[in-house]
């Protein structure tokens, strides 16, 4: 093979590698869900989320997912949330999914929230029966972990397609936590709730926009 041919081959290999890297970066950037800002500003803001058993639309209609309500009151398929720094964040989560259960009852105890107490359907609760849990809302780097009570298996009028409405069977979980300095924190459901994936931790559990997201704390 001539020197020119060898150089051309190497150049083609480098170009192919660069194209793959560019494709990966572009895919990552374009697939990142939109940012949903909390309602309100420092020193107090509110986040409203819902969890659904199956999203109901593409690209993964049968994946379990979170949704967030934007300040205009519209449900957005996103888990990238923006909240103010040095503030109390009041969170309301409408839980439309049924129970999965916890592998360790310790996950049933809310942590990192005001008064170590959440309210479930208006009642204060310091620990959730592990068999009744459906998901958790956890921000490990902020020490926040809150179990979410599932809808009873035999509940009537269960939601099948997101976004679900309050007319459908749900539980309401409320709690507050405090933010400190600005930063970007990953949050996650820690219940192995990904149906059809090894040990329940694949697919939606590791995909932004589903059971995995970012909390952007901004100054």
């Amino acid at each position: 093979m001539s020197t020119a041919a060898r150089l051309a081959l190497v150049a083609a290999g480098i170009a192919a590698g660069a194209a793959l890297i560019a494709y990966y970066i572009a895919s990552y950037l374009t697939q990142t869900p939109p940012v949903v800002a909390a309602t309100g500003n420092m020193p107090s803001a509110s986040l409203t989320l819902q969890t659904v058993a199956s999203l109901g639309f593409k690209p993964h209609p049968d994946w379990v997912s979170y949704l967030a309500k934007n300040p205009a009151g519209k449900w957005v398929h996103s888990t990238v949330l923006r909240v103010p720094a040095h503030s109390t964040i009041n969170v309301t989560i409408y839980q439309f999914d049924t129970a999965t259960g916890l592998r360790n009852p310790f996950w049933g105890e809310p942590r990192g929230i005001a008064n170590a107490t959440m309210t479930v359907d208006g009642k204060p609760l310091k620990v959730l029966d592990p068999d009744l849990a459906s998901h958790t809302f956890a921000i490990p780097d902020l020490g926040v972990s809150v179990p979410l009570k599932g809808v009873a298996d035999d509940a009537k009028n269960q939601c099948s397609v997101a976004p679900c409405t309050l007319a459908e069977a749900h539980t309401t979980v409320k709690f507050s936590f405090k933010t400190d300095k600005p930063g970007k924190f990953r949050w996650q459901c820690f219940v192995p709730c990904a149906a059809g994936f090894p040990l329940g931790f694949g697919g939606p559990m590791q995909s932004l926009g589903y059971m995995d997201g970012y909390l952007e704390v901004v100054g």
Partner: protein, 285 residues
């Protein structure tokens, strides 16, 4: 080989050996007495101390070998460097069966001796703490029947700890008393993790359905790092926390406080068992 070259080789060999001996005489005591006390994993437990002693010995044995190789190369680069600039063949080498045999026997003996020593340290003098011994430990320290059992439970992605002699309560925090033999019973609720308590000299796999036992006897109070040493998923890096070695009175006080702190969860705990097979797999098989 020319007559002149033959006459020079012994002198070079003696020089290399002398330089090597001097360097080794300087380096070996430095390794043992200066670097040695700082080698991992420290001296917090008798088991960690045994592992550190093994590391000191291994390093002290490896340094002369490394020095021999380095001395030979540096000497060759300096003395046998071609100063003429011309490319010429050197004298032919035919090898020396005696030297080759000596090298193979010596290095083989060192490797085998270190394997025996390392195995002895892992299994006997550190009571298997460095790797865990499974449910039926091969070597058990004296008084093991009175050891304080502490169950280490791994799960994605958190460590929890149960104390069966104190009612089986469970805690997110780990504390053990000093000067007390502790038997860690390491298991997992989901996938394979690895309980690595660095300063204690403990690294035991946490396997679902397996009670992996490791003994430690802490020599003094203090903090120790806990890590998961088995890549276990998205939040593997989050499985890190600090444990504590407390004096016996402080440990008893800690037990009392920890029971109160975690009381709200205790009623939901499964009865204490060597292993657990959590039932909630309705969704995730």
């Amino acid at each position: 080989m020319t007559t002149a070259a033959s006459a020079q080789i012994p002198r070079h060999g003696i020089r290399i050996v002398l330089i090597w001996l001097v360097l080794t005489a300087i380096a070996a005591p430095l390794i043992v007495f200066v670097l040695g006390p700082h080698l991992p994993p420290g001296n917090m437990t008798s088991e960690a101390g045994s592992q550190r002693d093994a590391n000191v010995l291994l390093t002290a044995l490896l340094v002369p070998i490394a020095l021999l190789v380095v001395t030979f190369f540096v000497y060759s680069f300096v003395v046998f460097r071609n100063r003429t600039g011309g490319i010429v063949d050197g004298p032919p080498l035919f090898g020396d069966a005696g030297v080759q045999l000596l090298w193979i026997v010596l290095t083989g003996a060192i490797v085998l001796a270190l394997a025996v020593w390392g195995s002895y340290t892992l299994i006997v003098s550190s009571h298997g703490a460095g790797g865990g011994q499974g449910p039926s430990p091969v070597d058990q320290p004296k008084g093991h029947e009175h050891a304080l059992p502490v169950q280490v439970i791994a799960q994605q992605w958190e460590w929890t700890f149960r104390y069966p002699t104190y009612g089986g309560f469970e805690s997110r925090d780990l504390a053990i008393p000093d000067n007390t033999l502790v038997a860690f019973h390491v298991t997992s609720l989901d996938i394979t993790h690895s309980f690595w308590a660095y300063e204690l000299g403990v690294k035991a796999d946490a396997v679902p359905g397996v009670d992996d036992i490791a003994y430690v006897n802490a020599r003094h109070t203090g903090f120790f790092q806990i890590r998961c040493a088995e890549l276990c998923g998205l939040w593997h890096a989050h499985m890190a926390k600090k444990g504590r070695v407390l004096s016996l009175p402080a440990f008893q006080a800690w037990i009392k406080a920890a029971k109160q702190k975690n009381a709200v969860v205790q009623k939901y705990l499964a009865p204490y068992s060597d292993v657990y097979f959590p039932a909630p797999l309705r969704r995730a098989g």
